[in-house]
Protein backbone atom coordinates (compact mmCIF):
# COMPACT_ATOMS: atom_id res chain seq x y z
CA UNK A 1 0.00 0.00 0.00
CA UNK A 2 1.18 3.50 -0.81
CA UNK A 3 0.33 6.95 0.50
CA UNK A 4 -1.19 9.58 -1.76
CA UNK A 5 0.36 12.99 -1.06
CA UNK A 6 -2.18 14.77 -3.25
CA UNK A 7 -3.95 16.51 -0.39
CA UNK A 8 -3.99 16.70 3.40
CA UNK A 9 -6.01 13.46 3.75
CA UNK A 10 -2.79 11.52 3.04
CA UNK A 11 -4.76 8.35 2.19
CA UNK A 12 -2.57 5.36 3.03
CA UNK A 13 -4.48 2.61 1.22
CA UNK A 14 -3.37 3.27 -2.35
CA UNK A 15 -2.49 0.28 -4.50
CA UNK A 16 -0.81 0.51 -7.88
CA UNK A 17 0.12 -1.72 -10.79
CA UNK A 18 3.37 -1.09 -12.62
CA UNK A 19 3.90 -1.77 -16.29
CA UNK A 20 7.09 -0.97 -18.22
CA UNK A 21 8.48 1.00 -15.31
CA UNK A 22 5.51 3.31 -14.83
CA UNK A 23 2.23 3.27 -12.93
CA UNK A 24 -0.45 1.76 -15.16
CA UNK A 25 -3.33 1.33 -12.69
CA UNK A 26 -4.27 2.94 -9.40
CA UNK A 27 -6.77 1.57 -6.89
CA UNK A 28 -8.61 3.38 -4.09
CA UNK A 29 -7.40 6.90 -4.97
CA UNK A 30 -9.68 9.81 -5.85
CA UNK A 31 -9.55 11.58 -9.24
CA UNK A 32 -6.76 13.90 -8.08
CA UNK A 33 -4.74 11.16 -6.40
CA UNK A 34 -5.03 8.76 -9.31
CA UNK A 35 -3.98 11.58 -11.63
CA UNK A 36 -0.78 12.19 -9.68
CA UNK A 37 0.23 8.53 -9.81
CA UNK A 38 -0.79 7.97 -13.44
CA UNK A 39 0.84 11.20 -14.65
CA UNK A 40 4.12 10.69 -12.82
CA UNK A 41 6.04 11.15 -16.07
CA UNK A 42 4.05 14.15 -17.36
CA UNK A 43 5.31 17.71 -17.54
CA UNK A 44 8.47 16.99 -15.59
CA UNK A 45 10.80 19.86 -14.78
CA UNK A 46 14.23 19.94 -16.40
CA UNK A 47 17.30 21.67 -14.96
CA UNK A 48 17.44 25.19 -16.41
CA UNK A 49 19.52 28.33 -16.14
CA UNK A 50 17.98 31.56 -17.46
CA UNK A 51 15.30 29.53 -19.23
CA UNK A 52 17.76 27.30 -21.12
CA UNK A 53 18.25 23.61 -20.48
CA UNK A 54 21.34 22.98 -18.40
CA UNK A 55 23.33 20.20 -16.86
CA UNK A 56 21.96 19.39 -13.37
CA UNK A 57 25.30 20.06 -11.69
CA UNK A 58 25.60 23.45 -13.42
CA UNK A 59 22.08 24.31 -12.31
CA UNK A 60 22.93 23.34 -8.73
CA UNK A 61 26.02 25.55 -8.91
CA UNK A 62 23.91 28.40 -10.26
CA UNK A 63 21.45 28.02 -7.39
CA UNK A 64 24.28 27.81 -4.85
CA UNK A 65 25.77 31.05 -6.19
CA UNK A 66 22.43 32.84 -5.97
CA UNK A 67 21.86 31.73 -2.39
CA UNK A 68 25.43 32.37 -1.34
CA UNK A 69 25.48 35.89 -2.73
CA UNK A 70 22.02 36.87 -1.51
CA UNK A 71 21.83 39.50 1.22
CA UNK A 72 18.13 39.03 1.72
CA UNK A 73 16.72 35.63 0.85
CA UNK A 74 13.18 34.29 1.19
CA UNK A 75 12.36 30.58 1.15
CA UNK A 76 8.78 29.86 0.16
CA UNK A 77 6.43 26.98 -0.65
CA UNK A 78 7.28 23.74 1.15
CA UNK A 79 3.75 22.42 1.75
CA UNK A 80 4.04 19.59 -0.78
CA UNK A 81 7.41 18.31 0.43
CA UNK A 82 8.28 16.03 3.34
CA UNK A 83 9.04 17.03 6.92
CA UNK A 84 12.65 15.99 6.31
CA UNK A 85 12.93 18.46 3.41
CA UNK A 86 11.11 21.16 5.39
CA UNK A 87 13.61 20.73 8.25
CA UNK A 88 16.48 21.31 5.82
CA UNK A 89 14.78 24.39 4.39
CA UNK A 90 14.29 25.82 7.88
CA UNK A 91 17.95 25.07 8.64
CA UNK A 92 18.97 26.87 5.45
CA UNK A 93 16.81 29.87 6.35
CA UNK A 94 18.30 29.98 9.84
CA UNK A 95 21.89 29.82 8.58
CA UNK A 96 21.23 32.55 6.01
CA UNK A 97 19.20 34.64 8.49
CA UNK A 98 16.54 34.51 5.78
CA UNK A 99 12.77 34.87 5.68
CA UNK A 100 10.69 31.71 5.45
CA UNK A 101 7.01 31.39 4.60
CA UNK A 102 4.59 28.89 3.12
CA UNK A 103 1.15 28.80 1.50
CA UNK A 104 -0.50 28.66 4.91
CA UNK A 105 -0.15 32.45 5.20
CA UNK A 106 -2.94 32.86 2.68
CA UNK A 107 -4.36 29.38 3.22
CA UNK A 108 -5.29 27.87 6.60
CA UNK A 109 -2.24 28.66 8.74
CA UNK A 110 -4.32 30.82 11.08
CA UNK A 111 -6.51 27.82 11.93
CA UNK A 112 -3.49 25.55 12.51
CA UNK A 113 -1.94 28.19 14.75
CA UNK A 114 -5.14 28.43 16.83
CA UNK A 115 -5.03 24.64 17.27
CA UNK A 116 -1.34 24.56 18.18
CA UNK A 117 -1.87 27.39 20.68
CA UNK A 118 -4.85 25.42 22.04
CA UNK A 119 -7.25 28.31 21.38
CA UNK A 120 -9.68 25.80 19.84
CA UNK A 121 -10.03 22.06 20.46
CA UNK A 122 -9.13 19.70 17.64
CA UNK A 123 -9.19 15.97 17.00
CA UNK A 124 -8.11 13.40 14.43
CA UNK A 125 -9.96 12.01 11.41
CA UNK A 126 -9.85 8.57 13.04
CA UNK A 127 -11.76 9.96 16.04
CA UNK A 128 -14.19 11.65 13.68
CA UNK A 129 -14.83 8.37 11.87
CA UNK A 130 -15.50 6.55 15.13
CA UNK A 131 -17.44 9.17 17.04
CA UNK A 132 -18.63 12.23 15.14
CA UNK A 133 -22.34 12.84 14.71
CA UNK A 134 -22.83 16.40 13.46
CA UNK A 135 -20.25 17.14 10.78
CA UNK A 136 -19.94 20.72 9.55
CA UNK A 137 -18.23 21.66 6.30
CA UNK A 138 -17.89 25.42 6.54
CA UNK A 139 -16.55 27.30 3.49
CA UNK A 140 -15.10 24.19 1.89
CA UNK A 141 -16.12 21.82 -0.89
CA UNK A 142 -14.38 18.54 -0.05
CA UNK A 143 -16.12 16.83 -2.96
CA UNK A 144 -13.53 18.60 -5.12
CA UNK A 145 -10.72 19.60 -2.76
CA UNK A 146 -10.46 16.55 -0.44
CA UNK A 147 -12.37 14.03 -2.47
CA UNK A 148 -12.22 11.01 -0.14
CA UNK A 149 -12.85 13.04 3.03
CA UNK A 150 -16.54 12.17 3.26
CA UNK A 151 -16.26 8.56 2.10
CA UNK A 152 -13.21 7.48 4.06
CA UNK A 153 -13.10 9.65 7.17
CA UNK A 154 -16.27 11.51 8.02
CA UNK A 155 -19.80 11.15 6.68
CA UNK A 156 -20.14 7.75 5.00
CA UNK A 157 -17.85 5.34 6.87
CA UNK A 158 -19.05 3.15 9.73
CA UNK A 159 -16.72 3.02 12.70
CA UNK A 160 -16.60 2.88 16.48
CA UNK A 161 -19.85 4.27 17.87
CA UNK A 162 -21.18 5.06 14.42
CA UNK A 163 -22.23 1.72 12.95
CA UNK A 164 -25.63 2.54 11.50
CA UNK A 165 -24.61 4.40 8.37
CA UNK A 166 -24.90 8.03 7.42
CA UNK A 167 -28.70 8.00 7.12
CA UNK A 168 -29.02 7.54 10.87
CA UNK A 169 -25.65 7.98 12.51
CA UNK A 170 -24.37 11.20 10.97
CA UNK A 171 -25.86 14.67 10.57
CA UNK A 172 -24.26 16.72 7.79
CA UNK A 173 -24.20 20.53 7.82
CA UNK A 174 -22.78 22.37 4.81
CA UNK A 175 -22.32 26.14 4.93
CA UNK A 176 -21.24 27.90 1.77
CA UNK A 177 -21.92 30.91 -0.43
CA UNK A 178 -23.11 28.60 -3.22
CA UNK A 179 -24.66 25.16 -3.52
CA UNK A 180 -21.51 23.13 -4.04
CA UNK A 181 -21.38 19.45 -4.92
CA UNK A 182 -20.81 18.78 -1.22
CA UNK A 183 -23.91 20.82 -0.40
CA UNK A 184 -25.92 18.71 -2.83
CA UNK A 185 -25.21 15.70 -0.62
CA UNK A 186 -27.02 17.40 2.25
CA UNK A 187 -30.42 15.68 1.96
CA UNK A 188 -31.63 13.33 4.66
CA UNK A 189 -30.33 14.09 8.16
CA UNK A 190 -28.58 17.14 6.84
CA UNK A 191 -28.80 20.89 6.31
CA UNK A 192 -27.39 23.26 3.71
CA UNK A 193 -27.11 26.86 4.91
CA UNK A 194 -26.40 29.37 2.17
CA UNK A 195 -24.15 31.89 3.85
CA UNK A 196 -24.04 35.60 3.08
CA UNK A 197 -22.05 36.49 6.18
CA UNK A 198 -20.16 33.91 8.26
CA UNK A 199 -20.16 36.26 11.21
CA UNK A 200 -23.95 36.58 11.06
CA UNK A 201 -24.39 32.80 11.09
CA UNK A 202 -21.96 32.41 14.00
CA UNK A 203 -23.80 35.14 15.86
CA UNK A 204 -26.99 33.13 15.18
CA UNK A 205 -25.49 30.03 16.81
CA UNK A 206 -24.30 32.08 19.81
CA UNK A 207 -27.73 33.72 20.19
CA UNK A 208 -29.46 30.35 20.14
CA UNK A 209 -26.99 28.94 22.66
CA UNK A 210 -27.73 31.91 24.94
CA UNK A 211 -31.46 31.38 24.65
CA UNK A 212 -32.24 34.11 22.11
CA UNK A 213 -33.83 33.58 18.73
CA UNK A 214 -31.17 33.65 15.98
CA UNK A 215 -31.59 36.40 13.38
CA UNK A 216 -30.79 34.00 10.55
CA UNK A 217 -31.80 30.38 9.96
CA UNK A 218 -34.30 30.55 12.84
CA UNK A 219 -35.42 26.94 12.32
CA UNK A 220 -32.15 25.35 11.20
CA UNK A 221 -29.79 26.61 13.90
CA UNK A 222 -31.85 25.33 16.90
CA UNK A 223 -32.32 21.98 15.12
CA UNK A 224 -28.59 21.65 14.45
CA UNK A 225 -27.78 22.49 18.08
CA UNK A 226 -30.29 19.90 19.24
CA UNK A 227 -28.66 17.29 17.02
CA UNK A 228 -25.22 18.27 18.39
CA UNK A 229 -26.42 17.67 21.95
CA UNK A 230 -27.85 14.34 20.88
CA UNK A 231 -24.60 13.26 19.17
CA UNK A 232 -22.23 14.36 21.93
CA UNK A 233 -19.19 14.46 19.59
CA UNK A 234 -19.24 16.91 16.71
CA UNK A 235 -16.71 18.42 14.34
CA UNK A 236 -16.35 21.56 12.22
CA UNK A 237 -14.17 21.40 9.11
CA UNK A 238 -13.24 24.97 8.17
CA UNK A 239 -11.98 25.89 4.72
CA UNK A 240 -10.73 28.89 2.81
CA UNK A 241 -14.26 30.25 2.38
CA UNK A 242 -14.51 30.52 6.17
CA UNK A 243 -11.05 32.06 6.52
CA UNK A 244 -11.72 34.76 3.94
CA UNK A 245 -15.30 35.20 5.14
CA UNK A 246 -14.06 36.14 8.61
CA UNK A 247 -11.48 38.56 7.19
CA UNK A 248 -8.80 37.68 9.73
CA UNK A 249 -10.88 38.20 12.89
CA UNK A 250 -11.47 34.81 14.46
CA UNK A 251 -12.80 35.97 17.84
CA UNK A 252 -16.38 35.08 16.96
CA UNK A 253 -15.35 31.63 15.71
CA UNK A 254 -13.55 30.95 19.00
CA UNK A 255 -16.51 32.26 20.99
CA UNK A 256 -18.96 30.09 19.05
CA UNK A 257 -16.87 26.94 19.52
CA UNK A 258 -16.37 27.69 23.23
CA UNK A 259 -20.09 28.16 23.75
CA UNK A 260 -20.95 25.05 21.70
CA UNK A 261 -18.58 23.07 23.93
CA UNK A 262 -20.60 24.06 26.99
CA UNK A 263 -23.39 21.87 25.56
CA UNK A 264 -21.52 19.04 23.78
CA UNK A 265 -18.06 18.21 22.47
CA UNK A 266 -17.16 20.20 19.36
CA UNK A 267 -13.81 20.01 17.58
CA UNK A 268 -12.31 21.97 14.71
CA UNK A 269 -10.11 20.59 11.92
CA UNK A 270 -8.76 22.73 9.05
CA UNK A 271 -9.96 21.50 5.65
CA UNK A 272 -6.77 22.39 3.81
CA UNK A 273 -5.57 21.01 0.52
CA UNK A 274 -1.77 21.06 0.76
CA UNK A 275 -0.55 17.65 1.92
CA UNK A 276 2.08 18.82 4.41
CA UNK A 277 1.11 22.39 5.23
CA UNK A 278 0.45 21.42 8.83
CA UNK A 279 3.85 19.70 8.90
CA UNK A 280 5.59 22.95 8.04
CA UNK A 281 3.46 24.88 10.54
CA UNK A 282 4.29 22.42 13.31
CA UNK A 283 8.02 22.33 12.56
CA UNK A 284 8.35 26.10 12.49
CA UNK A 285 6.13 26.45 15.56
CA UNK A 286 8.32 23.99 17.49
CA UNK A 287 11.44 25.93 16.55
CA UNK A 288 10.26 29.53 16.73
CA UNK A 289 6.80 29.67 18.31
CA UNK A 290 5.29 30.87 15.03
CA UNK A 291 3.72 28.92 12.17
CA UNK A 292 4.73 31.03 9.15
CA UNK A 293 6.03 34.41 7.78
CA UNK A 294 9.13 34.24 9.93
CA UNK A 295 12.34 36.24 9.75
CA UNK A 296 15.39 34.54 11.23
CA UNK A 297 17.18 37.89 11.10
CA UNK A 298 14.52 39.61 13.19
CA UNK A 299 13.73 36.44 15.17
CA UNK A 300 9.99 37.02 14.87
CA UNK A 301 6.94 36.56 12.68
CA UNK A 302 5.08 39.48 11.16
CA UNK A 303 2.64 40.28 8.37
CA UNK A 304 5.51 42.29 6.87
CA UNK A 305 7.39 39.01 6.42
CA UNK A 306 4.61 37.32 4.45
CA UNK A 307 6.00 36.19 1.11
CA UNK A 308 3.80 38.51 -0.95
CA UNK A 309 4.60 41.51 1.28
CA UNK A 310 8.34 40.89 0.98
CA UNK A 311 7.96 40.91 -2.80
CA UNK A 312 5.70 43.94 -2.80
CA UNK A 313 8.02 45.91 -0.51
CA UNK A 314 11.14 44.91 -2.45
CA UNK A 315 12.77 43.50 0.69
CA UNK A 316 14.32 40.42 -0.91
CA UNK A 317 16.94 39.98 -3.60
CA UNK A 318 16.50 36.22 -4.03
CA UNK A 319 13.76 33.63 -3.60
CA UNK A 320 14.00 29.88 -3.23
CA UNK A 321 10.62 28.39 -4.18
CA UNK A 322 10.20 24.74 -3.23
CA UNK A 323 7.21 22.66 -4.35
CA UNK A 324 4.95 25.61 -5.09
CA UNK A 325 3.91 27.71 -8.06
CA UNK A 326 3.15 31.24 -6.84
CA UNK A 327 2.40 32.43 -10.38
CA UNK A 328 -0.51 30.01 -10.42
CA UNK A 329 -1.72 30.49 -6.88
CA UNK A 330 -0.95 34.04 -5.67
CA UNK A 331 -2.34 37.31 -6.97
CA UNK A 332 -0.03 38.02 -9.89
CA UNK A 333 0.65 41.61 -8.95
CA UNK A 334 2.95 40.18 -6.24
CA UNK A 335 4.15 36.97 -7.87
CA UNK A 336 5.31 38.84 -10.99
CA UNK A 337 8.04 40.46 -8.92
CA UNK A 338 9.81 37.11 -8.80
CA UNK A 339 10.97 37.94 -12.34
CA UNK A 340 12.87 40.97 -11.03
CA UNK A 341 14.94 39.08 -8.47
CA UNK A 342 17.06 35.93 -8.49
CA UNK A 343 14.51 33.15 -8.26
CA UNK A 344 15.36 29.48 -7.85
CA UNK A 345 12.58 26.93 -8.33
CA UNK A 346 12.77 23.37 -7.02
CA UNK A 347 9.84 21.31 -8.29
CA UNK A 348 9.17 17.92 -9.85
CA UNK A 349 6.94 19.44 -12.56
CA UNK A 350 7.05 22.37 -14.97
CA UNK A 351 5.54 25.44 -13.37
CA UNK A 352 4.67 28.97 -14.45
CA UNK A 353 7.12 30.28 -11.85
CA UNK A 354 9.80 28.05 -13.35
CA UNK A 355 9.41 29.96 -16.63
CA UNK A 356 10.55 33.19 -15.02
CA UNK A 357 13.13 31.69 -12.66
CA UNK A 358 16.88 32.17 -13.03
CA UNK A 359 17.44 28.54 -12.07
CA UNK A 360 15.15 25.49 -12.10
CA UNK A 361 16.10 22.32 -10.26
CA UNK A 362 13.97 19.22 -10.80
CA UNK A 363 13.03 17.07 -7.82
CA UNK A 364 10.92 13.99 -7.16
CA UNK A 365 7.19 13.59 -6.48
CA UNK A 366 6.76 13.00 -2.75
CA UNK A 367 5.11 9.68 -2.00
CA UNK A 368 5.69 8.27 -5.48
CA UNK A 369 9.40 8.75 -6.07
CA UNK A 370 10.59 9.50 -2.57
CA UNK A 371 9.82 8.58 1.03
CA UNK A 372 9.70 10.63 4.18
CA UNK A 373 7.05 11.85 6.58
CA UNK A 374 4.09 14.22 6.32
CA UNK A 375 1.52 15.51 8.80
CA UNK A 376 -2.12 15.52 7.68
CA UNK A 377 -4.51 18.38 8.38
CA UNK A 378 -5.66 16.61 11.56
CA UNK A 379 -2.10 16.41 12.96
CA UNK A 380 -1.55 12.72 12.21
CA UNK A 381 1.96 11.75 11.10
CA UNK A 382 2.07 9.51 8.05
CA UNK A 383 5.13 7.75 6.67
CA UNK A 384 5.25 7.78 2.86
CA UNK A 385 5.91 4.51 1.02
CA UNK A 386 7.23 5.41 -2.42
CA UNK A 387 6.61 3.36 -5.55
CA UNK A 388 9.99 4.24 -7.02
CA UNK A 389 13.13 5.79 -5.56
CA UNK A 390 14.69 8.75 -7.28
CA UNK A 391 18.07 9.96 -6.12
CA UNK A 392 17.39 13.60 -6.84
CA UNK A 393 14.66 14.69 -4.47
CA UNK A 394 13.94 17.81 -2.40
CA UNK A 395 16.17 16.63 0.45
CA UNK A 396 19.07 15.98 -1.91
CA UNK A 397 18.71 19.41 -3.53
CA UNK A 398 18.46 21.19 -0.19
CA UNK A 399 21.52 19.38 1.16
CA UNK A 400 23.43 20.53 -1.92
CA UNK A 401 22.30 24.11 -1.36
CA UNK A 402 23.32 23.92 2.30
CA UNK A 403 26.85 22.89 1.30
CA UNK A 404 27.78 26.48 0.46
CA UNK A 405 26.34 28.20 3.51
Amino acid sequence: MHVCAGCSCLCDDIEVEIRDGSVSKVYNACRRGAGIFLNTGSSRAEPKIDGDNADFEKAVKGAQEIIQSSDSLVIYGLDTVTLEAQELAIKLAEKKEAYIDDNSTFCLGDFVEMILRKDIPSTTLEEVKNNAYVIFYWGTDPYHSLSRHLSRYTYYPRGGKRQRGYEEDRFLVVLDVRKTHTAKLAKKNARFLKVDSDEEVMRGFIDALEGRSPKVFQKDIPRILKEMEKGGFNVIFGGLGLKYGLKGDYSILKEMIRKMNERSEVYFIPAGCHPNMRGFNELLFEKTGYVNKYSFKDQTSSDEFAFHRLLEDGKVDAALIIGSDPLNSLPLQYARKLADINTVVVDPRETFTGKIAKVVLPSSIAGIEGGGTMIGADGTRIRLKPVFEREINDEYVLKRLLEVI
Binding site: R32, S43, D141, G241, P331, L332
Partner: protein
Protein backbone atom coordinates in the same frame (compact mmCIF):
# COMPACT_ATOMS: atom_id res chain seq x y z
CA UNK B 1 -24.67 35.97 -42.91
CA UNK B 2 -25.93 34.74 -39.51
CA UNK B 3 -27.11 37.32 -37.04
CA UNK B 4 -24.82 37.64 -34.07
CA UNK B 5 -27.24 38.56 -31.30
CA UNK B 6 -24.45 38.36 -28.74
CA UNK B 7 -23.03 41.56 -30.25
CA UNK B 8 -26.01 43.43 -28.84
CA UNK B 9 -25.66 42.09 -25.32
CA UNK B 10 -24.64 44.49 -22.63
CA UNK B 11 -22.10 43.95 -19.93
CA UNK B 12 -23.38 41.89 -17.03
CA UNK B 13 -21.98 42.54 -13.59
CA UNK B 14 -21.48 39.45 -11.43
CA UNK B 15 -19.75 38.16 -8.34
CA UNK B 16 -17.31 35.39 -9.22
CA UNK B 17 -16.67 32.68 -6.62
CA UNK B 18 -13.28 30.92 -6.83
CA UNK B 19 -12.79 27.34 -5.69
CA UNK B 20 -11.29 23.94 -6.29
CA UNK B 21 -12.49 21.85 -9.21
CA UNK B 22 -11.09 18.32 -9.21
CA UNK B 23 -11.23 17.96 -13.01
CA UNK B 24 -9.06 21.06 -13.39
CA UNK B 25 -6.64 19.93 -10.67
CA UNK B 26 -6.28 16.63 -12.50
CA UNK B 27 -5.40 18.52 -15.68
CA UNK B 28 -2.75 20.45 -13.73
CA UNK B 29 -0.84 17.23 -13.09
CA UNK B 30 -0.89 16.47 -16.82
CA UNK B 31 0.83 19.81 -17.39
CA UNK B 32 0.15 23.49 -16.84
CA UNK B 33 1.20 24.19 -20.40
CA UNK B 34 -1.13 21.57 -21.85
CA UNK B 35 -4.26 22.36 -23.85
CA UNK B 36 -6.23 20.39 -21.27
CA UNK B 37 -5.12 22.73 -18.49
CA UNK B 38 -6.30 25.74 -20.51
CA UNK B 39 -9.55 23.99 -21.41
CA UNK B 40 -10.31 23.20 -17.75
CA UNK B 41 -9.05 26.49 -16.28
CA UNK B 42 -10.17 29.17 -18.76
CA UNK B 43 -13.79 28.49 -17.95
CA UNK B 44 -16.56 30.58 -16.45
CA UNK B 45 -19.28 28.41 -14.95
CA UNK B 46 -22.72 30.01 -14.97
CA UNK B 47 -26.02 28.81 -13.63
CA UNK B 48 -27.97 27.82 -16.77
CA UNK B 49 -31.01 29.96 -16.03
CA UNK B 50 -28.90 32.99 -15.17
CA UNK B 51 -26.70 32.49 -18.24
CA UNK B 52 -29.58 32.10 -20.66
CA UNK B 53 -31.53 35.01 -19.20
CA UNK B 54 -28.52 37.20 -19.92
CA UNK B 55 -28.14 35.91 -23.46
CA UNK B 56 -25.18 33.57 -22.98
CA UNK B 57 -25.01 30.09 -24.49
CA UNK B 58 -22.80 27.23 -23.47
CA UNK B 59 -19.55 27.42 -25.40
CA UNK B 60 -19.67 31.20 -25.89
CA UNK B 61 -16.41 33.05 -25.44
CA UNK B 62 -16.77 35.94 -23.02
CA UNK B 63 -14.51 38.68 -21.78
CA UNK B 64 -14.34 38.69 -17.98
CA UNK B 65 -13.07 41.98 -16.60
CA UNK B 66 -12.11 42.81 -13.04
CA UNK B 67 -10.70 46.30 -12.50
CA UNK B 68 -8.44 46.95 -15.47
CA UNK B 69 -7.66 43.30 -16.11
CA UNK B 70 -9.49 41.05 -18.57
CA UNK B 71 -9.32 37.47 -19.81
CA UNK B 72 -11.33 35.58 -22.41
CA UNK B 73 -13.02 32.46 -21.10
CA UNK B 74 -15.43 29.81 -22.30
CA UNK B 75 -18.91 29.76 -20.76
CA UNK B 76 -20.14 26.46 -19.38
CA UNK B 77 -23.40 25.88 -17.51
CA UNK B 78 -23.31 24.15 -14.16
CA UNK B 79 -25.69 23.80 -11.25
CA UNK B 80 -22.86 24.47 -8.79
CA UNK B 81 -22.44 28.05 -10.01
CA UNK B 82 -24.03 30.70 -7.78
CA UNK B 83 -27.61 31.50 -8.85
CA UNK B 84 -26.79 35.03 -9.95
CA UNK B 85 -23.06 34.86 -10.30
CA UNK B 86 -20.26 32.73 -11.65
CA UNK B 87 -17.75 30.12 -10.52
CA UNK B 88 -14.12 29.73 -11.61
CA UNK B 89 -11.55 27.10 -10.68
CA UNK B 90 -8.54 28.65 -9.01
CA UNK B 91 -5.61 28.96 -11.39
CA UNK B 92 -3.38 31.54 -13.05
CA UNK B 93 -6.57 33.09 -14.50
CA UNK B 94 -8.08 33.89 -11.11
CA UNK B 95 -4.65 34.85 -9.72
CA UNK B 96 -4.43 37.44 -12.49
CA UNK B 97 -7.84 38.91 -11.72
CA UNK B 98 -7.82 38.93 -7.92
CA UNK B 99 -6.07 40.46 -4.95
CA UNK B 100 -5.99 39.15 -1.39
CA UNK B 101 -8.95 41.34 -0.49
CA UNK B 102 -10.98 39.55 -3.17
CA UNK B 103 -9.14 36.26 -3.30
CA UNK B 104 -12.12 33.88 -3.15
CA UNK B 105 -14.91 36.20 -4.37
CA UNK B 106 -14.52 39.14 -6.71
CA UNK B 107 -16.71 41.50 -8.71
CA UNK B 108 -16.38 41.38 -12.46
CA UNK B 109 -18.22 42.10 -15.68
CA UNK B 110 -19.00 39.61 -18.43
CA UNK B 111 -19.45 40.65 -22.04
CA UNK B 112 -19.45 38.73 -25.33
CA UNK B 113 -16.14 38.42 -27.12
CA UNK B 114 -15.29 37.44 -30.67
CA UNK B 115 -11.73 36.71 -29.64
CA UNK B 116 -10.29 33.33 -28.68
CA UNK B 117 -9.67 32.00 -25.16
CA UNK B 118 -6.73 33.62 -23.38
CA UNK B 119 -3.78 31.27 -22.93
CA UNK B 120 -1.72 31.13 -19.70
CA UNK B 121 1.36 32.27 -21.61
CA UNK B 122 -0.50 35.44 -22.67
CA UNK B 123 -1.33 36.19 -19.04
CA UNK B 124 2.32 35.76 -18.15
CA UNK B 125 3.28 38.14 -20.95
CA UNK B 126 0.77 40.73 -19.71
CA UNK B 127 1.97 40.39 -16.14
CA UNK B 128 5.64 40.63 -16.96
CA UNK B 129 5.11 43.75 -19.05
CA UNK B 130 3.27 45.55 -16.21
CA UNK B 131 5.02 48.55 -14.67
Amino acid sequence: MPLEFSRFLKKVSVEVVVGRWSFQVEAMDRGKFSDEFTEKSAVLYLNEEFGKSNGFREGDIVRLTSGNKSVNLKVLFSDIAPENGAFMPNSIYTSYLTDFSSFKRFRATIEPSNDRITKPEEIMQKVLSMD
